[in-house]
C-alpha cells in the first residue's frame, strides 16, 4: 500500500477503482430491494406454475409428479373449451367495440371547447371506481324487477341471469367502466397529429369524412393498435366483473379462463390442474405482449 502512494499515476487509478467499486455497491443497494421482491413474488411463482402444472398438487403445494396428464385432461375437458370459447366471445364483445366507442367519443370530446373538461370527466369517471362498486351499481340499474332500465322499457329480462344476455351485459358494463382510458389515449393521439396536415388537406378541398379517412385514421393507427393490444391482454385476464355479476353462470355461459382456474384451484383444491390453466393463460398473454412490444418498440432500450 505505502509503496503505491509514491507513484501518483497508480494512486489515481486506484482511487478511481475504489470509487467505481463504491458506486457498484451503491447500485447493488439501490436495486436489491426491488429485485428481491420481484424475484420472490413474480419470477419465482411464474416458474413454479410451470412445475405445479405437472403435478397433482393441492392448495398447500403438496403433490406428485404426473407428467403431462393435466394437459391431456385439459384438452379432453369440455368445461375448459367452454371457458376458452367464452373468453374469446367476451374479447369479441369488448375489444373492438370498446376501441371504436373510445375513438368515437374522443373525436366528439376533442371538438368541444368550454365543456371539454366536464364531458371528458363524465366519460372517465367510471374508470376510477372499484370493480365491486361498478357491479353494485349495474346490478341495481339492470335489476330485473325494480331496475330503472327495465322499469322504463317495460322489459322483464334478468340481464345477468339470462343465458343469452349475461355475457353481452357483462361486456357492456366493462365498456362503460373502462372506455375512459381508451378515450384518453385517443385524445393524446389526436393531439399529436400536426394541424398543418389538416390545413393542407382543407385547402385541397377535403372535408368531413374524407379528412377522417385519409388523415385522422392513418395517423391514429399506432394509438389504435396500442389500444387494441392493451385490451386484448387485459380481457384475457377477465375475472372480477364476471365473478361479481354472474359468478360464471347461468350454466357456465360466462365461465371464463381465470374464473375456471380460480374454481379448480381455490374451490376444488386442484392446485396442479388450476396451474395448468394458468400456464395456458400465461402463454396466450405472453404471445400478445410480445406482439405489443413489437408494435411499441419497447425493449429496444435495454
Amino acid at each position: 500500500m505505502l509503496e503505491t502512494v509514491s507513484k501518483p499515476g497508480r494512486l489515481a487509478s486506484q482511487e478511481k477503482q475504489v470509487q467505481l467499486r463504491r458506486r457498484g455497491v451503491t447500485a447493488l443497494l439501490m436495486v436489491a430491494p426491488f429485485v428481491l421482491l420481484y424475484l420472490v413474488f413474480l419470477i419465482y411463482p411464474s416458474l413454479r406454475v410451470l412445475q405445479l402444472s405437472l403435478t397433482n398438487a393441492d392448495l398447500t403445494g403438496q403433490g406428485e409428479y404426473v407428467g403431462l396428464s393435466n394437459y391431456a385432461r385439459l384438452l379432453r375437458e369440455p368445461t375448459f373449451w367452454t371457458a376458452l370459447l367464452n373468453t374469446l366471445y367476451f374479447i369479441l364483445l369488448t375489444v373492438v367495440p370498446n376501441t371504436l366507442v373510445g375513438l368515437g367519443l374522443a373525436l366528439l370530446v376533442t371538438r368541444l371547447n368550454r365543456l371539454k373538461g366536464l364531458v371528458l370527466a363524465c366519460f372517465f369517471l367510471p374508470y376510477v371506481l372499484p370493480v365491486s362498486v361498478v357491479t353494485n351499481i349495474w346490478n341495481w340499474v339492470l335489476d330485473s324487477n325494480f331496475g330503472i332500465v327495465n322499469t322504463m322499457t317495460h322489459s322483464t329480462v334478468a340481464w345477468f341471469q339470462d343465458p343469452v344476455w349475461a355475457m353481452p351485459a357483462v361486456a357492456f358494463v366493462t365498456i362503460w367502466w373502462t372506455v375512459g382510458f381508451n378515450i384518453l389515449l385517443f385524445i393524446a393521439g389526436l393531439q399529436n397529429i400536426p394541424p398543418e396536415i389538416y390545413e393542407a388537406a382543407a385547402l385541397d378541398g377535403a372535408s368531413g369524412f374524407r379528412l377522417f379517412r385519409s388523415i385522422t385514421w392513418p395517423n391514429l393507427w399506432p394509438v389504435t393498435s396500442l389500444v387494441l393490444l392493451l385490451q386484448l391482454i387485459a380481457q384475457f385476464k377477465i375475472f372480477d366483473q364476471v365473478y361479481l355479476l354472474t359468478a360464471g353462470g347461468p350454466f357456465d355461459k360466462t365461465l371464463v379462463l381465470l374464473l375456471y382456474s380460480y374454481r379448480e384451484g381455490f374451490q376444488q383444491q386442484h392446485g396442479g390442474y388450476a396451474s395448468t390453466i394458468g400456464v395456458v393463460l400465461m402463454v396466450v398473454i405472453l404471445a400478445a405482449s410480445l406482439l405489443q412490444s413489437r408494435v411499441l418498440g419497447r425493449g429496444e432500450r435495454a
Binding site: V31, I43, L52, W140, V279, S289, R298, G299
Partner: protein, 289 residues
Amino acid sequence: MTTTVPRAARTASSSVRLARLWGGVVTALTVLLAALWVFPLYWAAITSLKADNDTIANPPTFWPKPFDFSSYTYILQNSPLVRWYANSILTSLAITVLVLLLSLLCAYALSQIDFRGRKWLYVLVLVGFMIPFQASLIPLFILINKMGLVNNFAGLILPQLAAPLAVVIYKQFFDQIPHELGDAARIDGAGEWRVLFSIFLPLNWSITVALAIVTFIAAWNNFLWPFIVLNDPPKLTIPVGITQVQSAYGVAYAKTMATAVTAALPTVIAYLIFQRRVTEGVMATAGLK
C-alpha cells in the same frame, strides 16, 4: 354587418351559419351522451338518499323527496365499513410509497450507474413486465400461505410491490436526463444518493406525483389479490368488503348504494382534484409519454 355584403361573402356566411348549427347539434348530442354515461352514478347516489320503499317506487322518482341519510348511518353502524376503510387507506398508502421508492432506486441505478449485470437486469425487468401475475395465482398463494402471510397485510402488500411498471417509466425518464448533470455533482463530491434525491427526483417530480395518484387509485381499487389473500372479515379492504354486505342486506337497495357511494368516494375525489395528474399518469403507464 353592413348592407353592402358581396354575394360570395354572403353565401360563405350562410355556410358558416350552417356549419355552426351542425356543430351545435353535435355538441348537444355529445353533452347528452356524457349525461347518459354518468347517469348510473347519479342514480346510485340518489338511490342511496331515498327511503327504502321509495327506491322501488313506480314510476321512479329522479330526486329524493325527503333526503334520507338513514342508509348511511345504518351501514356505518352495522357493518365493518369504517374498519375496511382504514385497512384500504393504510395498505394503499403503504403500497404507493413503497412502489415509488423501490422503483425510483432501482430505475436510478439501472439508468445512471454502470454496474455489472445491469443490462441483464433490465431485460429481466422488461420480461416481467409482460408476465401476468394472474396466471401464477396458485403458486403465489401457496408461497404466501407458507410464509404465514394469509390474512396479513404484509401478504397483501408485498406481491403488489413486485410490479415493474414504475421501474420502466422512471428509467425512461432518467435516460432522458443528460449524464453531465449527475457528473457535475459527483465531481463536487456528491454521492449517488445525493445525486438521486436532490437532482434527479426533483426533475421528475411531476411524473412522481402522477404515478403516486395512479398507483394509489389502482391499489385502492385492486380486487383479485385482496380477495384471494384476505378472508377474515375485519381484515378486508373496501372493494372486497362491500361485496359481502351486499348479500347481507338482501333487497335493501338504498343501503347497497350507500355502501357503493361511500366506497367510491376517495378515488372519485382524488380524480376530480387531480384530473391532470391522473391523465399524465394514465398516459405514462400506457407507454405514451
